[in-house]
């Protein structure tokens, strides 16, 4: 099986998938109750995206 060139993701899509996977893993590992897990996952995902986009914009003036 070769999935080689199969995945063509934009930077934003890659960041979304990465943040989602890590948030889910962290949420399940660090919290026990389902509602706490959901809260943690949503909050963690939001912060991942906010900080990612924020750092992107912070680098924009130096990108050229």
């Amino acid at each position: 099986m070769n999935v080689g060139p199969g995945f063509k993701l934009t930077h934003l899509q890659a960041m979304l998938l990465f943040a989602l996977a890590i948030s889910i893993a962290f949420g399940f590992l660090s919290r026990r109750k389902p509602i706490e897990r959901v809260k943690y996952i949503v909050w963690s995902l939001f912060l991942f995206l906010l900080i990612g986009v924020g750092i992107g914009w912070a680098m924009y003036p130096f990108s050229r």
């Binding site: 099986m1 995945f7 063509k8 890659a14 998938l17 990465f18 996977a21 889910i24 893993a25 399940f28």
Partner: protein, 138 residues
């Protein structure tokens, strides 16, 4: 006398529990989620298996760099250690990437990060399973 005979039982139990905890940690490293599954923590087991699996498949699919033992510098060696953290999924990543890596494109570079993150995440999960088996946290 009864106290003298029962006293060594506690360290022996601790030693046995440590050995079991170590085995659970190693199992969790070899197969993502297996350590938690052995302790019947099904939600965590499935979450670890799926997140590590998805990251490995995406990373290999984006033709990220799967490092090997013959690295040229410290970064290659660290990358190899991180990739090894996925346990048996390291073999899966190599099998999926028959054409080798392509980090000349942005996707390949992202894929390298996905693979390394999958390994580190799995090591964290295995350590969590080990600690839970020792009764330190759950």
């Amino acid at each position: 006398m009864a106290g003298e005979t029962s006293a060594p039982a506690v360290p022996q139990q601790d030693s046995r529990r440590d050995r079991i905890a170590f085995a659970i940690g190693v199992a969790g490293w070899l197969v993502p989620g297996l350590g938690h599954a052995l302790m019947k923590m099904w939600g965590r087991a499935v979450a670890c298996f799926l997140t590590v699996g998805v990251l490995v498949i995406l990373g290999a699919g984006m033709r990220g760099n799967v490092f090997n033992s013959s690295g040229n510098d410290a970064f290659d060696s660290l990358g190899y250690l991180a990739d090894l953290g996925t346990g048996t999924f390291y073999v899966l990543a190599r099998a999926l990437e028959r054409d080798g890596s392509d980090v000349s494109r942005a996707e390949g570079d992202y894929g390298t990060r996905f693979l390394a993150t999958a390994g580190v995440l799995n090591l964290l999960a295995a350590l969590h399973a080990y600690e839970a088996a020792r009764g330190r946290k759950a």
